[in-house]
Assembly symmetry: C2
Homo-oligomer: 69 residues x 2
Amino acid sequence: MNIKEKIGLRVKRLRKEKNISQEALANISNIDRTYIQSIEKGERNISITILEKIASGFKISISELLKDI
Amino acid sequence: MNIKEKIGLRVKRLRKEKNISQEALANISNIDRTYIQSIEKGERNISITILEKIASGFKISISELLKDI
DNA sequence: GTGTGACTTTGAGTCCGTC
DNA sequence: CGACGGACTCAAAGTCACA
């Protein structure tokens, strides 16, 4: 499993834990809904700014978002 | 200071700590020398795969690379 | 060994709609 | 609400010559 897939799973798991929809995460993170989907599928090589947006959406640090990755 | 600049400084500091040149870091990380340079200047919005390369070059985890960022 | 500007190609990232 | 796809724009990836 590559790093993109790992991050996808991590995002998906965090999202499930918080019990929010892809759409909701997309909104609070200021990212496109379809892009979140693509990320969760492990298709995208996301940039640090997107990582930052997602982390802030989850209200955690980037380093926390990438823990165990 | 934005996140790109923060990462640039972090990379630069880690590199100085290890006492290696940009060229050496570039080689062990499999990245172009000028690209490392651009990253250290905080100009690049680097992706997760580049973060992975740099982290592995430093022999640390990505989460460790992004600590305090 | 470092610093810079310029460049091309590929994919990041957005927006639309459908099922 | 999640999954998928088309079409689009702009930026990340990667390299070069020269100082």
